[in-house]
Point group: C2
Chain length 467, copies 2
């Protein structure tokens, strides 16, 4: 298993030397070159030749003048058995089959082919990632199918049965300032399955939280044990695809999974004590909560920002999600009342304050006073990046960042930032920059009050249950 | 009431001739000029002068050489009584007080001022919109506080106690291709209140659906009757701010409302048969559902697009929301199987098809076959505007629009488009253009599968209850 994540040398079979499509063996070469950690990389194609970047393409696995720990296959399913035989002869340790078109098609011949693949690999002592998946993504090892992710090493682990969802998780999380340790897209899970990955990530000291997307579980009792092994050490968050009959039918076509009933799944989650979510963005929210807000003492939040109507809805959303939005102490309100005008604003909690984009020290003073209230555990600051009042965007953005930096200095309590969903390209661009800068400061970023509140509540529930 | 929406002449008091802030009396002048339907517009400021656009500023209401039907006040609260006296002398019919700082502050003096305002207005026979609100927005009449909205006339009515939420509703809805008839932001509702606006919109034949944001209700029994009067004729959708204790506290500071308990509210919604939502975007979703998808025969949806993992989650989301995602008939699957490859795709429903951005007629053929399935009532097409496979954005966008236009021609059943939340400014820009173009074709646009499914379910529940 360690070798699957840490191969000393990697060969990729089915690398097109002429094709213009990015979707194929080239992805894995490009991904490794992007990280530049794996140095012994070999490309394979029966036609030989060279890639655009000068990489030599070997016609045959046996022609590679080196050992090959990991062989990534992007060849079509009908030719896979020949490649496996060659891998066995070469002494390959692990194969990753990006190759699809096996049991998941429901076709009897393809099901039989998958069985034969497994038989030959087992005979050769080769472990299998996949088939029908994108394989390993790890900034630590430098393996990936993505050449546009961050090269920074983080402390988030990820396992996803779907390659597309794996990409969505990594991409979305990185945009919110998160970074990964080890991840895997593992498809049909014919050999190595979710339990193997969970066990690796449970013991792994480079990983603080594990995010997963699962369609089906191969071995229920082992899964409970593996998941529990993670939960005992760090938060495990799982999005289960195929919770409904229709979703389960789709999962059958997608990864050949038997999705099982939602009632069984709920029971499993209670036994193994992992956190359950329903959307990919909620997986990411959990990682933001754990990474940036886990030192919150409890559920009492102060809500700052917005303006009247937004404050009302924010307070409702937090309360509905199971957080508390207590009225600020009289002394706190009195201190705020000294510089916040009464007309059209509230200082009771939520605190309306719309001057985040302007100069002055109103925001810092507000945070300092609110954070000192003994009844408050955490601050949620929310704002709208499309606001008509933002006339000079560069100035406004610089002001907000200055205010947030000052706020961190005067608050001993964690701060979350909620950027209401942008509706304009300018707003979206600003959101992207704010996510990056604010998370670098140590502020957790969320896409909406609802999602921020739900993530906090889930984290606090898990922490209490684990205490 | 008719005159509140249809003034023949409008004066705005408190128009700054020098200030650089957009937030004040100038907003209303700019709004009317933008629509250019109200021709008799007068600006007031004790200092007189002229505006940048040459508009003459009168020092005194009595100096205006015309009758004034509607007087909009942007003067500070402490000077409001003088303005009311002048309005009484001038024979003004309706006043809109943008002016804030009354009962909502909780300050005893300000509460008394609001009472006195109401006493003098009543004595003078002047009706009041507000105070503490943005007033009327109507493309039909040409009144607005927004100079950047569409001038197109639509068939959506809106009433919102919060001005900011009113702006969010109009802006968000217009971006999704919706247009308005009459709307109002009505603040403290000291005189004209939600019931008056509801009754106007109920009878109004230019309005097909009514969206509302309410913090507190002044007169429970009358509210039930007014709301029911709308629901008997057209869908009424209400977002209630202040559903929780914390939200209610915020509503008290915001519009001075007594928000009431959520249990009472639930009972009211059942009696008056309106549709309840929790977020502003859900209000907009309901308008999209009513405007574009109301001819769906039932709850059976086909899901097209996405790719494997996204399809699984889409099917789960629709099922969880209370829609049905039936397996396509054998004959339908056989017809699809003729041109959709088996590896890595599903044709059972959801139908994976990722060629929306490319040329060819795969998508049109898919829609034609699926729409002909007797067990399907509606089609949901979903796609990701950030996709790495979109290398030539202009070409991809043109292809998608061509496919959608062709799809409409071969489908007798309504089609909804779901653009998964963009993560990049380019994706957001593309989403904006697609919303506009697709809605112009007659396709309803949603921000996520979850929201699309929830809106459809709410609409179908309401339709069944109204049958």
């Amino acid at each position: 298993m360690h070798l699957a994540f840490h191969p000393r040398s990697v060969a990729v079979a089915g690398v097109s030397t002429t094709g213009t499509s990015w979707f194929g063996g080239r992805m894995f070469i490009d991904g490794m070159r992007h990280f530049d950690r794996v140095k012994r990389i070999y490309a394979l194609n029966p036609k030989g030749g060279t890639l655009a970047d000068g990489t030599r393409v070997y016609a045959d696995l046996s022609a590679i003048p080196d050992d090959v720990d990991l062989l990534i296959s992007a060849v079509p399913a009908p030719t896979i058995l020949d490649l496996i035989d060659a891998a066995a002869a070469k002494g390959v340790k692990v194969m990753h089959l990006f190759t699809a078109g096996f049991g998941e098609t429901g076709d009897a011949e393809r099901v039989a082919l998958e069985t034969e693949v497994m038989r030959r690999l087992t005979a050769a002592g080769i472990r299998l990632i996949g088939p029908n998946c994108m394989g390993i993504h790890s900034p630590i090892t430098g393996l990936s199918w993505m050449a546009d992710t961050s090269c920074d090493i983080g402390r988030i682990g990820m396992f996803s049965q779907s390659g597309m969802n794996a990409t969505m998780i990594v991409d979305g999380a990185e945009r919110r300032g998160l970074r990964f340790s080890y991840g895997v897209s593992y498809g049909n899970a014919t050999d190595l399955n979710e339990c193997d990955y969970l066990e690796y990530l449970a013991e792994n000291e480079e990983t603080d939280i594990v995010l997963g997307y699962i369609e089906g579980v191969k071995d229920g009792p082992r899964f409970v044990e593996s998941a529990r092994r993670v939960s005992d050490r760090k938060p495990l968050v799982i999005l289960k695809g195929g919770q409904t009959e229709a979703g389960s039918r789709a999962a059958g076509s997608h990864t050949g999974s038997l999705a099982g009933s939602i009632d069984i799944w709920r029971g499993v989650s209670r036994q193994a004590r992992f956190i359950v979510v329903d959307r990919i963005d909620e997986l990411i929210d959990m990682a933001v909560a754990v990474q940036f807000l886990s030192r919150t003492a409890g559920r009492n939040v102060a809500i700052i920002g917005g303006g009247g109507g937004a404050s009302v809805l924010a307070a409702d959303a937090c309360s509905r999600a199971g957080l508390f939005v207590p009225a600020l102490a009289d002394a706190t309100q009195a201190a705020l009342g000294e510089f916040i005008p009464a007309a059209g604003t509230s200082i009771r909690n939520p605190v309306d304050i719309t001057s985040l984009w302007h100069g002055g020290d109103e925001f810092r003073r507000t945070v300092e006073i609110v954070a000192a209230d003994a009844n408050i555990d955490m601050l949620i600051v929310h704002f709208n990046v499309d606001g008509a009042s933002i006339t000079d965007r560069d100035r406004a953005e610089a002001n907000l960042l200055t205010h947030m930096r000052a706020a961190l200095e005067v608050s001993a309590k964690p701060i979350a930032a909620v950027t209401h969903p942008p509706r304009t390209p300018d707003g979206m661009a600003m959101q992207g920059r704010l996510y990056e800068q604010l998370s670098a400061m140590g502020i957790g970023n969320f896409r909406s009050i609802e999602e921020c509140a739900a993530a906090l509540r889930r984290f606090l529930d898990w922490r209490e249950a684990s205490a």
